[in-house]
Symmetry: C2
DNA sequence: CCAATTATTGACCGCTCGGTACAAGATTGG
DNA sequence: CCAATCTTGTACCGAGCGGTCAATAATTGG
């Protein structure tokens, strides 16, 4: 389906990359479905024929953007793993690498984090798996940190999600040349998070108050799914479409 | 433009809410631009005429979903503010309220966090402002915590964004009936974050290592914007479209 | 220098999109 | 009971969609 087989010239690959990057910029502004192929042509200064000569289809373009992000992120994780170090050090390294990617590819990352649901079938499956792979590598650091006694006893999947959220969210504001430097930010984030989960004298129960429960408010349609992410909808009887969560 | 003036019957309002909620579910699966009005009709079991009788336009539907989320989130913040308490307590309260909304309206929140760029003109402006308002209320808690000596000296805007990211990201996996309870989660998150920024003996520099800089990699098109979020694009010469960041 | 290959154009296709018009049911209040 | 009003289905609209194609310009290698 993906048809990667055919080798093309280096010039072709180069032009293709340019088009991918420019298109990522557009997608990040207008959304994938909100951007027409005509707009892609205009932004890339090519006719329709040439555009499709390079991209194959709109979805393959989206896949290429996803690939760029996942490749970079995974390469960063590999680099960190190859360096070894204590769990806190490894966690800091992962954060620095992740923020580095977000900083260098803001458009691609935006698309990656927003337009995953626009992928269909096999493509969606591929990136669901790759995301999960990365998340597991983060979890492993938390597990290692608990075994080594650096971290206290928190649920690793939960910690990983908290950590991911904190870092991923920077895609909304972290920009080259911005007020905050990436490396500085990575250090501060690592500092906050590592302190937060480190095995140290607990600071007693200063924590949350339950939300003052406003009158029996559930989803007004009573329509909320009950299982984990991506549960099948009731009632709608969808036809051919793509799946849900990321 | 928004045409809120005309009062309708209670029955009408009720049916409208049902349609909004059902549509939020669809949008959360397929994306706003990826969902056709025909699909909305099928999901809501109405014809096109009836659909538009209730929603006015597709974008007004999107606005209604955004409204629901912002209203709930702001109401939660108000409740917390009215309770008073120390900054750590207030922060925990905000987190519990925020997670509560995400938990009760997973579809609406998904749409809110993904489809903001689909809003145009005045609507985009409105919700950009309301988001910023909420963010500032979070920042204020960090500032107060520093004044009171509960928190150490971190940049409040940065801390607010880290905190927001950590909490908002739960929209990807937090579901009614899921493995983790909301209140429990809120406590753990508050625990991690408050420890992470509390004024306490610093645990020395165990933090980040810089990313081993892979060969001169900037955006291959050299196309990254240089200013803060939402900078105007170069080169594309867009026509009538909406703005960038959230 | 010329044939083979690569790169590009722009007209065109069938289809779906968001939205409207309007007549006909349902409901309601006097 | 009937007229006014609320609610609904359906046929239809122009526009724009993603994608194709045959012709042709530009480049390349022998």
């Amino acid at each position: 389906m993906t048809e990667v087989s055919v080798r093309r010239s280096a010039k072709w690959e180069l032009r293709r990359q340019e088009i991918i990057d420019t298109s990522a910029h557009l997608f990040a502004q207008r959304g994938f479905h909100g951007t027409s192929t005509a707009e892609l042509c205009e932004a890339n200064q090519v006719g329709k024929g040439a555009l499709y000569y390079y991209i194959g289809s709109k979805e393959q373009l989206l896949v290429a953007i996803h690939d760029r992000v996942m490749d970079e992120v995974m390469a960063g994780a590999d680099r960190v793993a190859s360096l070894g170090g204590t769990p806190p050090e490894r966690l800091g390294g992962l954060g620095a690498e992740l923020l580095d990617v977000i900083h260098r590819y803001p458009d691609h990352v935006w698309v990656f984090l927003h337009e995953f649901p626009a992928l269909t079938g096999e493509n969606a499956e591929t990136f669901r798996r790759r995301r999960r792979d990365y998340e597991m590598r983060v979890e492993e650091v938390f597990e290692a940190g608990q075994r080594s006694g650096h971290f206290r006893d928190i649920d690793p999947p939960m910690a990983a999600k908290a950590w991911l959220g904190m870092h991923n969210y920077t895609y909304l504001w972290l920009r080259p040349g911005g007020r905050v430097g990436v490396l500085d930010l990575a250090e501060q984030y690592a500092d906050i998070f590592v302190r937060g989960i480190s095995a140290a004298p607990p600071s007693a129960g200063i924590v949350a108050r339950p939300p003052t429960d406003v009158a029996g408010a559930t989803n007004a349609a009573g329509a909320t799914d009950v299982a984990g992410a991506g549960g099948t909808p009731a009632r709608t009887g969808a036809k051919k479409r793509r799946q849900g969560a990321a």
